[in-house]
């Protein structure tokens, strides 16, 4: 709901809001420039003194105005010719033209009415209203994404466009809310919808009838400091019934031109004061610095517009059409989706197609539409659920748990829950897990044990699909292709072989950097920019699902390197480990910003086993700054699968790795990497207490063992892996 409230006003008002923001940002410069350029009066100067000086220089003076920036302008007639100038209050002489700045005037008219008069003003007010709706709905989305208002500035993960969008938004939103609400107030004021009209005292009926009392001698003017002046109008020459009119920031009054007496006075009304404050806040006139800050924040709007459209397009592409969807009342299989960005719908479509092909009748719908009483023919319910932020329900699953808990008893339909998430988040698949727990607590029979899919892994999904097929007694092959990225051809330049003796043939494959087109270089797409720890996807010949491998090199290394173990019967690993120099593969890059050592100088604890050593060795190789690195390396046998064993002594000599601890699992006393951690417990705990960052790469079981070992090691210090994960100090790349 909130997302719709953010998306549609955003797309509809994009052009309008962009014009508003850019013109507003440009206009914000003028008050500051005026403030700097305006000659400032000496302290203690009163309106009387100023009027005296100006009248000496321009005897025909009619009006003196002071703008909120402090700029003083005088208007006079000299022998019938009108004159006007910006006045230096020290001398009373004109120092600059009083004509309005044409650029400012043009921008102002664009900003408030698109040069279209009242119709344009209303359109721009609608733009301001859209900006306000966008700001508020966007703020709610940020709070939901980061897991609450208290985590407003929490670290972000995910695709660049989305991150940029939120990074800009969480700073600019304050200014945008202020600018848009004040804009709406000002529009209402312009159209006389607010009772903030000027309170002007009634014209005095009795005046002295005399003329010629010098304004410099008038008591009221002598008591009014120059900073309070708005406007002083002189009486018509020769009209004895006319008066001096004084406007200050407190009110308006009339002064007798023959005696200098104050004839009438009216204070500003409360509404007027509010309106003037709002005018100042919006225009920055009288608050130039605030104006500049608001202008800078407004500059974020076009950037947010562009990134917002990218996010929206990515969501559109990610959500496929589902053909042959059956009504819920007739379907045997109810497939419900809890998706935030839309990618889980893609998995649902794949599953729907495969089940339909296997002769099932399947209904696909959002989890928020959960209605078990209408599932007349259902024999099973399958829930595919992503997680939003810190374990919250994703957009299309809103209210699901309430509906589930509202059922007085479970229907006799077996249920399967599959969670989608990213292991590098602390709340990995937390929502799906809470769904599975709730269903179990309610007594729903279980069709399949709760399972998860990490980072949209097609392999995980295919594996789960086979388990589902077994449960249904059908052959179910799920080949899900999320969105097939553009691939690049990579040529192998060298390979090093390990592990044959321990029945784990593994190769370190090094590919040449592909040629990168200029536009890719500019946009940073493809292989133009990559870092150690990013992933490359390789599409095996004859396969439909790409396999992901962690990169052991960055662009600066000048080559692309991966460590691949040959799995028995593995299509992709089989082809890769059979490559000879000169052979080629099709590959694409997938950035993995969650798995980077960062630029900090804090020590790194790298923990990996088997091929998981690849990116960790890459980090060591790239550590020219000699950041302290402690590497825990699990292998089968040092004579067989000690990857990069030739390089490590040199890296140690150069200070690229401070400490290398190996754990050997084949032998009389099997020793795993988690055992190595335990035997170094004191030092590990000490390092982490002092701010070290932990990075784990390797198989799932190893990662679980490492988390368990670290939990034990850190318990005395009152720390847990979960806390470290939340702080971004414990990241995993697990497969």
């Amino acid at each position: 709901m909130i997302r719709a409230l953010h998306r549609w006003p955003g797309l509809l008002a994009l052009a309008l809001v962009t014009i508003l923001a850019l013109s507003g940002a440009a206009l914000s410069v003028f008050p500051a420039a005026e403030r700097i350029a305006a000659p400032q009066p000496e302290t203690g100067l009163t309106v009387a003194g100023l009027a005296d000086r100006i009248q000496t220089v321009y005897p025909g003076v009619e009006q003196i105005r002071r703008s909120p920036s402090g700029r003083i302008t005088a208007y006079w007639f000299d022998q019938g010719a009108p004159g006007a100038a910006v006045i230096d209050p020290a001398t009373g002489e004109g120092v600059a033209s009083a004509d309005p700045n044409q650029a400012e005037r043009w921008l102002t008219n664009l900003h408030r009415s698109l040069f279209l008069g009242d119709g344009g003003r209303i359109a721009m007010a609608a733009g301001a209203a859209a900006m306000l709706v966008l700001s508020l709905s966007g703020a709610a989305l940020v709070a939901r994404r980061t897991g609450g208002w208290r985590h407003w500035f929490a670290r972000l993960r995910g695709p660049l466009a989305g991150r940029l969008h939120v990074e800009i938004a969480r700073i600019a939103v304050v200014g945008l809310v202020l600018s848009s609400t004040t804009a709406l107030w000002m529009t209402a004021s312009t159209f006389d919808l607010l009772p903030d009209g000027g309170a002007i005292p009634a014209m005095p009926t009795e005046v002295s009838g005399a003329t010629g009392f010098a304004p410099g001698q008038m008591a009221t003017l002598r008591q009014t400091p120059i900073a309070e002046l708005r406007e002083l109008s002189f009486p018509y020459p020769g009209d004895a019934t006319d008066v001096f009119t004084l406007k200050t920031d407190r009110g308006t009054g009339y002064l007798d031109q023959g005696t200098g007496a104050l004839l009438a006075w009216a204070d500003l009304t409360g509404w007027e004061r509010v309106s003037e404050t709002i005018y100042m806040l919006h225009t920055g006139q009288g608050a130039a610095t605030l104006g500049l800050v608001l202008g800078l924040m407004a500059l974020g709007v076009p950037a947010m517009g562009a990134t917002g459209v990218l996010v929206w397009l990515a969501g559109l592409r990610g959500r496929p059409r589902i053909r042959g969807n059956q009504p819920a009342g007739r379907a045997e299989t109810i497939l419900l989706v809890g998706s935030e960005g839309g990618s889980t719908w893609g998995f649902a479509a794949t599953l729907h197609a495969a089940l339909t092909q296997a002769g099932q009748s399947v209904h696909v719908g959002p989890m928020s539409g959960f209605a078990p009483e209408s599932y007349a023919n259902a024999q099973r319910i399958i829930l595919l659920a992503a997680t939003y932020g810190d374990g919250a329900a994703p957009a299309s699953a809103k209210g699901f748990l309430d509906r589930l808990n509202a059922c007085d008893r479970a229907a006799d339909i077996p249920i399967a829950v599959l969670g989608f998430g990213d292991r590098s988040f602390p709340a990995y698949c937390a929502y799906a897990e809470s769904v599975a727990t709730a269903a179990e607590a309610k007594g729903w029979p279980e069709l399949l044990a709760f399972d998860t899919i990490d980072r949209q892994s097609p392999q995980d999904f295919a594996r789960w699909g086979r388990a589902l097929g077994d449960a249904l007694g059908i052959e179910l092959e799920l080949s899900h292709r999320p969105v097939q990225p553009q691939t690049t051809t990579l040529t192998l330049v060298s390979r090093r072989d390990y592990g044959a003796e321990v029945q784990a043939p593994t190769a370190i494959l090094r590919f040449a950097l592909p040629r990168v087109a200029l536009w890719q270089r500019l946009l940073g797409g493809g292989f133009a920019r990559f870092q150690t720890g990013d992933l490359i996807g390789i599409l095996p010949e004859g396969g439909t699902v790409p396999r992901l491998y962690s990169l052991a090199s960055g662009r600066r290394d000048g080559f692309i390197e991966i460590v691949v173990k040959k799995h028995p019967g593995g299509l992709c690993s089989g082809q890769l480990t059979a490559l000879e120099p000169g052979d080629t593969v099709s590959a694409f890059l997938r950035p993995n910003p969650g798995f980077r050592p960062g630029r900090s100088r804090a020590p790194l604890i790298l923990i990996g086993a088997g091929t998981g050593i690849g990116p960790l060795a890459g980090f060591v190789r790239g550590n020219t700054r000699r950041r302290p690195i402690h590497l825990f390396f699990g292998m089968r046998h040092p004579d067989s699968d000690f990857f990069y064993g030739e390089e490590f002594p040199g890296w140690q000599d150069e200070g690229r790795v401070s400490r290398l601890v190996t754990a050997v699992s084949r032998g009389a006393r099997p020793h795993y990497v988690q055992d190595a951690l335990r035997s170094e417990a004191t030092q590990v705990a000490e390092l982490i207490r002092n701010g070290a960052r932990v990075m784990v790469c390797g198989g799932r079981d190893m990662a679980a063992g490492v988390a368990e070992a670290l939990a034990e090691i850190l318990a005395p210090a009152g720390l847990t892996p979960a806390v470290l994960k939340a702080e971004g100090r414990y990241v995993e790349d697990v497969y």
Binding site: D99, R105, G117, G198, M203
Partner: protein, 156 residues
């Protein structure tokens, strides 16, 4: 547009009851290129003693800015009822405003004066920009304003 305006017969005190004789009068106001936004103009009539008699036209739709037409505002107390039905758009720099009204014969050659107050955003207020006595002889003779009006004439 102006022909439409002409059909809006003036219903203020200026179509003096009992003196049914009235004639169409065309008022043409041309502004100079003063380099600002559209000008607000108030056209009104005072009698021989200088007292306000009635308004002929208000160019400018937002009453919150009428206080800048300071003579008109003082004379009327900012009463927008004075310009009900005889209000139009503000007039851009270099543009002309032409209005045709039925004016009572008794207004001419009887000491009445036609005034124009003018005001432009962020520029000087110009009350009494134009003040011309209404006479049969003076018809068709253009006069200059003080700041914004390049020429003003009334034709019968």
């Amino acid at each position: 547009m102006k022909s439409l305006l002409a059909t809006l017969a003036l219903t203020t005190a200026l179509t003096l009851p009992g003196l049914a004789m009235a004639r169409p009068v065309t008022l043409t106001t041309t502004l100079n290129n003063y380099g600002g936004d559209g000008a607000y103009l108030a056209l009104y009539v005072t009698d021989a003693s200088g007292a306000y008699v009635g308004s002929l036209w208000m160019a400018g739709g937002k009453s919150k800015y009428y206080e800048h037409l300071s003579d008109w505002y003082r004379a009327t107390g900012g009463d927008t009822a004075q310009v009900n039905g005889i209000t139009g758009a503000s007039v851009g720099a270099g543009r002309s405003l032409e209005i045709t009204l039925d004016l009572a014969d008794a207004l001419f050659d009887a000491g009445y004066t036609l005034h124009i107050d003018a005001a432009v955003e962020d520029m000087r207020d110009s009350p009494n920009e134009v003040a011309v006595p209404l006479t049969t002889d003076g018809a068709g003779t253009p006069v200059r304003g003080r700041r914004y009006v390049a020429s003003f004439a009334y034709d019968m």
